[in-house]
Symmetry: D2
């Protein structure tokens, strides 16, 4: 599988099959999966602790291979969440980017990482 | 866009264009984006605070529309992260599920949500 | 040390000495420590994954001893953060509870876990 | 209240009274409070997004007053957690620092922010 040819639906199907084989659906309430997304995000973040802006990221070379693994864990858990919460993720992303385009107009937001309510006239 | 027909690469392209228009790439180090993934995961989790196992999730109906938005924010930030960290997400998910299949064999893991090192014979 | 007799300042002193002996202060920017608080919070949360409302928490007995350890890690990191950000934590807690008492008046908030902007007249 | 004179027990008492007046204890399972600690940690982290190593932290001056508030929220939630999980926090911190002193001996750990299993001879 690769990003070029793989649809979100194909990833969801692969993950759902994995869960079904293990009968894990009984634990997969939206609330439990939202907890799990946060836990996995924390494990990804841990790899970048004490890195420097201008230095290697992560700071410790031996952590390198774990970066893709932890990113995958966040994605798998989030796709599980979408499955259980009835969310079409591609549609949600598309809609959110449309909304963000209004909140962060190009002329005001260019080069500035402020929250939309911190952008002035 | 919808999950059935949208590839990961198409989502990445849509997000990269959004960032390029705003010249936000200069802030998007892997470390900064790993921080942002955690922040967004916390915002998703907040919607499910004080929900009950058997009750509606989220507990407050008016939070409903925000669930897809916050899930989208986690995904957008994670795809930004993958862009900057040079990760093919579909490949990473595929590889992680292969590894998980070894760590969580069907006969041991069925119906049990234990970590792999908590599963005994 | 115990909660009954130990002041926040005594805990801060104990932690500062620990860091000074290891020359770790150079890494302890507020931003880095805010990252570390999130990472430690995720490790605490992980212990409670897949627990049930009415069941033992955490769900797996062998995780029990780790609960106090992970809670301590969150506290140590937060006290480090306060040290570097120039925050008197007892004063901040006192002020925040005063503010919360206004946002969550007893008669409106009793028995209801809504955010202050979700509480109606 | 201030760090110099305030004990952990005094903070816990102040927080418990606040909760009792609002009858919030019914929602305060260890699991729910562990979720809340993560949510609050995310809100603290958000203030430091897109800051630079050498620049002001947080990057946006108007976020300044919120730093102490969010740090207080993490602490309040963690003290609630300790109350419900039966943890003496000062004792837990003391024990964890003792354990860390063994895992991170001064001569190996000085000036190096590696995890204990990344420190070599």
């Amino acid at each position: 599988m690769n990003d070029e040819t793989t649809t979100i639906a194909q990833l969801r199907q692969r993950i759902t099959t994995f869960n079904d084989e293990r009968d894990w659906g009984q634990y997969h309430s939206p609330r439990n999966l939202a907890m799990a997304v946060s836990v996995e995000a924390g494990e990804l973040l841990e790899l970048f602790l004490w890195s420097a802006d201008g230095g290697p990221q992560p700071a410790v070379e031996s952590r390198g291979p774990r970066v893709a693994e932890e990113a995958a864990d966040v994605a798998i858990t989030l796709l599980n969440f979408c499955e259980r919460a009835g969310i079409d993720l591609a549609d949600a992303i598309d809609s959110k980017l449309d909304a963000n385009a209004v909140r962060y107009p190009v002329d005001k937001a260019r080069g500035r990482m402020l929250k939309h309510d911190e952008l002035d006239g």
